[in-house]
């Protein structure tokens, strides 16, 4: 008998629900058969069987949300008696731990010999099966998580070896304490003291961050994707960032796009401004590896491949599917891929690796008529480009007033990775490329 467990299908996934079961109880299943559709925080994924046998029992009905690792079904071995407990295997003798190779020899840094008990962090369980990585958290974090009902699998550890340490959860606790304070008065009989003196300290700050629910308000539970979006953006906002805005003469780009699309004819793919931007950004990033980087806490990670994400709005959140290696692809190839990714993003059918691993992001709100905006960083990427609408503007050229097409670009930059001048050079080169669009494709 094999338990089928709720799988972890993405880094951010902590729980999932069954979209639908594609096999029924007592169906014979073979390794690789799709058992069910799993809805995660961002996508719907197929769950394949890892073993041959009979789907003996479905434990979780469609729609029910369960944490990862929870049994959702049982597959009986083909031909095995039902219900027989797994035979004890001959592993008892192996229970004694192997002697550590180094007897915890302290290795203090020179020039001292005095022992400091610095046992090299173990955890290097060599040869261990690639099971789910055990979550590392300090004892105080575990006890706080119990008290404050924090799911530690959603917390990023910043201690040694990724250990979750107290500072990583203090913020969450403060936030939840603040929201508790705000929501407490709702539905309680006691009057809330009104005097300003009564609300000293953290509460007014929290009040600005977390809304209170009044009689005329409706409280909508956060969807998974809304929750993740909120958390990621809050994290991103804590990054020291600056903004660089430039005006692109969009005339040549508009003409160029019209020319391409006319050439493609009626049945060809229509190239969008975003498609050209993806390719333009990729080419410019290739020339500016310092921008094609991420912040890695104690280092800067320079990416040798360029993967450009494009923000796609969903009804209840935001997702950023990633076009891989657009610097090595034609604009029409990029266009086909980007359209496919966007369509499947809206249907919730992206695979986790299709919205992960970007090195740069483009957010285009031009189609909504937005002239100019700033985008919030998409960590750990070093920069994100906000693209406004192409509009007509008067300009003076050779002493005459002319009307020309312009587009505003705003680059948001992680100041921990890049400085102003580096960001500005990148943006200037991108602008120049967009104003000479033939260079985008050659």
């Amino acid at each position: 008998m094999t338990d089928v467990l709720m799988p972890r299908l993405s880094d951010t996934m902590t729980e999932g629900s069954i979209g639908q079961w594609l096999k029924s109880e007592n169906d014979e299943v073979r390794r690789g058969d799709v058992l069910a559709e799993i809805e995660t925080d961002k996508a719907v994924m197929d769950l394949e069987s890892y073993s041959d046998g009979v789907l003996q029992k479905i434990l979780v009905p469609p729609g029910q949300v369960v944490p990862i690792g929870e049994p959702i079904a049982v597959i009986a071995d083909a031909g095995a008696d039902d219900g027989s407990p797994a035979a004890p295997s001959a592993t008892a003798a192996a229970a004694a731990p192997a002697a550590p190779a180094t007897a915890a020899a302290p290795t203090p840094a020179a020039p001292t010999l005095a022992a400091s008990g610095a046992v090299p962090a173990s955890g290097g369980s060599a040869g261990a099966a690639p099971e789910a990585v055990r979550l590392k958290a300090s004892p105080v974090v575990r006890s706080l998580a119990r008290t404050h009902d924090i799911d530690l699998s959603t917390v990023t550890g910043t201690g040694p070896g990724g250990r979750i340490i107290r500072v990583d959860v203090d913020r969450l606790i403060a936030d939840s304490a603040a929201s508790t304070k705000i929501t407490e008065p709702v539905g309680t009989a006691g009057p809330v003291p009104a005097g300003p003196a009564a609300t000293a300290g953290a509460v007014p700050v929290a009040a600005a961050q977390v809304g209170a629910v009044g009689d005329d308000d409706e409280q909508l539970p956060l969807s998974n994707i809304r929750r993740i979006t909120a958390r990621r953006l809050t994290e991103a906002f804590a990054v020291p960032q600056f903004y660089l805005t430039t005006l692109v003469d969009a005339g040549p780009l508009t003409d160029f796009r019209a020319q391409i699309n006319a050439g493609l004819g009626a049945d060809g793919v229509k190239i969008s401004v975003t498609d050209l931007l993806i390719r333009a950004c990729a080419v410019t990033l290739r020339a500016h590896p310092e921008v094609n980087s991420s912040f890695g806490e104690d280092s800067i990670i320079r990416h040798h491949r360029v993967h450009v994400g494009v923000a796609v709005a969903l009804p209840d959140g935001l997702i950023v599917p990633v076009v891989r290696d657009p610097d090595r692809k034609s604009v029409s190839q990029i266009s086909t891929e980007a359209k496919d990714l966007a369509t499947r993003a809206r249907d919730g059918r992206l695979k986790p690796d299709e919205f992960a691993g970007g090195t740069f992001t483009i957010s285009n709100l031009g189609m909504f008529g937005i002239d100019n905006f700033t985008a919030v960083l998409n960590p750990p990427e070093a920069a994100i480009l906000a693209v406004g609408a192409t509009t007509e503007q008067t300009a003076v050229a050779d002493g005459e007033i002319v009307v020309r097409k312009v587009m505003k670009l705003t680059l948001t930059v992680d100041h921990r990775v890049l400085d102003g001048a580096t960001g500005a050079t990148f943006l200037a080169d991108l602008t120049s490329l967009l104003q000479n669009p033939l260079r985008i494709v050659v």
């Binding site: 302290p106 203090p108 840094a109 020039p111 001292t112 010999l113 005095a114 022992a115 400091s116 008990g117 610095a118 300090s138 004892p139 105080v140 974090v141 575990r142 006890s143 910043t158 201690g159 040694p160 250990r163 340490i165 107290r166 500072v167």
Partner: protein, 334 residues
């Protein structure tokens, strides 16, 4: 309140107890005519006479055994063993007799004796004369082991030890004899078995005893100016061990480092760290760290001796490592 040395404080405690109680007698090598290798017993032979201040042969097992017998018959002997290294010659008398008699003979007689003995290295006395063997005795039920860090505690703890009805080892330290500190006038009697917070703090607990408590106090002052509030717990008593005070402190700070003069393996720090794991586990944000002597017979050469012994610099480094492992922000106070 007078400022006196640790040495003087021990001397004063002996003299005051001998004055108060005629059953208090002193035994040891060279404590009479020579007035003690470290001059703790200076003047006492002249004042109290050879009946109460006995120079003994160089025979630790013999004179410790004599003290056990005297204690069983109602005296309160205070034995000086020149250094803790020589106590090994008397270990059968200490462990198998002094520690056991009260329990094994149904409480017919207590053994109200004191063994005063200094430990510690750093004096270029080489491997056999520089050890910190306190944990050997702190391991044994039936004994009490105190380890004063300051002149004030030296006097109050030796006084308490003499008045205690059980055998008490008073661990002195060669490096502390000349240190000075204020000692209150009048009778002060310590409570054996109680640790003390000698400097309150909020960010990290450093546990020490004897010389290491003094170092910890100095390091705490350095960190204070950097915006790190270090709480220093002086164990003061190694047996009984006051786990409650240790755990209360760590429950507050969430971080702990033990500074011990003995070797790391099976040392005082191991016991403290285990006690923290048992009593304050849910409050820890990082593993308990220990700073101890290098696991080698202590070298004679000054340069090697210095780096083999735990000192303030190593303690500072390890404290910083613990703070970094918990991403502590300096100047932050919680």
């Amino acid at each position: 309140m007078a400022e006196i040395t640790y040495r003087q404080a021990l001397h004063d405690a002996l003299r005051e107890e001998m004055t108060l109680d005629p059953s208090v007698i002193l035994l040891g090598e060279e404590i009479g005519i020579f007035e003690g290798s470290y001059k703790i017993t200076a003047g006492l032979l002249a004042e109290f006479g050879p009946e109460r201040v006995r120079d003994t042969p160089i025979a630790e097992e013999g004179f410790v055994g004599a003290a056990v017998g005297a204690a069983m018959l109602g005296m309160r002997p205070v034995v000086e063993i020149m250094t803790i290294n020589f106590s090994l010659l008397a270990i059968d008398q200490i462990v198998n007799h002094a520690a056991k008699i009260y329990g094994m003979f149904g409480g017919q007689t207590a053994v109200p004796m004191v063994i005063r003995t200094p430990g510690g290295g750093g004096q270029q006395l080489a491997a056999t004369h520089s050890q910190n063997l306190e944990v050997w005795y702190a391991h044994v039920p039936g004994l009490k082991v105190v380890a004063p860090a300051t002149p004030r505690d030296a006097k109050a703890m030796l006084t308490a030890a003499i008045r205690d009805d059980d055998p008490v080892i008073v661990l002195e330290n060669l490096a502390l004899y000349n240190t000075k500190g204020e000692v209150p006038d009048g009778e002060q009697v310590a409570t054996i078995g109680r640790a003390q917070v000698i400097k309150p703090g909020t960010d990290i607990t450093v546990v020490g005893y004897s010389r290491s408590a003094v170092i910890a106090l100095d390091v705490a002052a350095r960190f204070e100016s950097e915006g790190v509030s270090v709480e220093v717990v002086d164990l003061a008593s190694l047996r009984p061990l006051d786990r409650e005070t240790i755990c209360r402190s760590v429950s507050k700070t969430g971080r702990a480092v033990v500074l011990e003069d003995d070797w790391l393996t099976y040392g005082i720090g191991a016991e403290v760290a285990a006690s923290i794991a048992e009593g304050a586990f849910d409050y820890l944000d990082a593993p308990v760290r220990r700073v101890a002597a290098a696991e080698i017979p202590l070298p004679y050469a000054k340069s090697l001796e210095r780096i083999a012994l735990p000192d303030a610099d190593v303690l500072v480094r390890v404290i910083n490592e613990v703070l970094d492992a918990t991403r502590f922000t300096r100047g932050e106070s919680r």
